[in-house]
């Protein structure tokens, strides 16, 4: 029973991974791509790790998988924010159909 539930979580995580990487290919802009990958891939990999936790139960592997979920949920958004800030400072243009760029407005207001 727990194996079936764990496999279900793994399939959900694989679907998230696949759609995130599809967004990495299809979307037009660095920021759009970053938004797609950092949500879908992080949630997908966390779901795969949670599936491993459900299959293995509360053994050593399960506890380590839970720690890895916590670590991934803490660090991945920080890395994504740093990457997007670096991309904006290095002068990557937004997509030409983008609506607003509030970070550039703030930077212009500071000066």
């Amino acid at each position: 029973m727990s194996e079936v539930a764990g496999n279900l979580f793994i399939v959900i995580g694989l679907a998230f991974d696949l759609f995130g990487c599809l967004g990495l290919i299809r979307l037009p802009d660095v920021y759009n791509r970053l938004q797609a990958t950092t949500k879908c891939v992080t949630l997908g990999t966390c779901s795969i790790l949670f599936g491993a936790l459900v299959v293995k139960g509360l053994s050593g592997t399960g506890i380590k998988a839970f720690l890895c979920i916590l670590f991934l949920l803490l660090t991945s958004p920080v890395a994504a924010h740093a990457l997007s800030r670096g991309a904006h400072k290095s002068g990557v243009k937004l997509w030409d159909k983008s609506v607003c760029d509030q970070y550039a407005e703030d930077e212009a207001g500071k000066k």
Binding site: L14, A52, G86
Partner: protein, 125 residues
Amino acid sequence: MRSKFPSRYLGWCLGLLGISLTLLFISIYPLPSLLRWQSPFLSRCFFMLMVCFAFCLFRLMRGPTPADRAVAVDTLGILIVGFCAILSIPTGRDWYIDIAIAWALQSFIGALALAKYLEGRGFDE
């Protein structure tokens, strides 16, 4: 910039056909002897993660800006954590999760260093 009517929808249909053919190929292909584990289901999950890996490698090859390549490298690191999590289930070895934790840490620090490099500042700031 705006493409003509038939070519755009033809591209959409070709992409859908390619994705569905890939999924069909993964689900019915007889498994090679290298990956014949106890459960063929997890082996097919492994193949599906390889498809995601190929997408990331595509963006790594022809990203127009360096920021695209940095995003692709960050995504590759998170996908490898998923690889290790899937590998730990059928083989029953728990040090794969140790590799996953270490790889997540390394990927985080690498992403921060790449962001610093993109900003064009020194690393000691």
